[in-house]
Symmetry: C2
Subunit: 104 residues, 2 copies
């Protein structure tokens, strides 16, 4: 699927920090920049990468663009992990089985 984009997106620590911040609540790009020592274009580019990986989604609100976590990316990651559930400790194995069920 788009595993490649997902793992590539998360391979960058700045993008993981952005994602983590968004996980704390939806925010626009300017608000995300606060306390992050990152230029406006860089933020925009990072958000673009996260968005095309479906880890994040946007919603225009006037002249602001609100960003929030998109569960789709996390789901795709879980589906990838589910393939290797035989390598999980026994207690986790049951969890992954359920995950697999969702794999419609």
């Amino acid at each position: 699927m788009n595993e490649n984009e997902i793992f590539r997106a998360l391979a960058d620590p700045t993008r993981r920090a952005i994602f983590e911040k968004l996980a704390g609540g939806a925010m626009n790009a300017s608000a995300l920049r606060e306390g992050m020592a990152i230029s406006q274009p860089a933020m925009s580019q990072h958000l673009g990468v996260l968005r095309s990986a479906r880890l994040v989604r946007e919603e225009r609100q006037g002249r602001f663009v609100n960003y929030e976590v998109d569960p789709e990316g996390l789901m795709a990651m879980a589906r990838w992990m589910a393939k290797y559930r035989n390598y999980w400790p026994a207690r986790i194995d049951a969890l992954m089985d359920l995950l697999k069920d969702m794999d419609q």
Copy 2:
């Protein structure tokens, strides 16, 4: 933690292919190369990256080195995902709670 190494390691499609192959059963580096159009040094370098991310572990056997999936890397990934369990669909949420319990 070593999330950085993990996501970086998995960002490369060749390394994911190697990991997937190892998930099918332990193998030495030469066996891994079969049908993979990859040079011996490239394979060795990829295995080095996967190993330092703890996605894979090795065991010397004579002049061969046997590689296998190391559950530690997958666990670390799951722990990362668990942080965002509030963004998972309800049914998955319960799974992630249990996962979090393992987080000793």
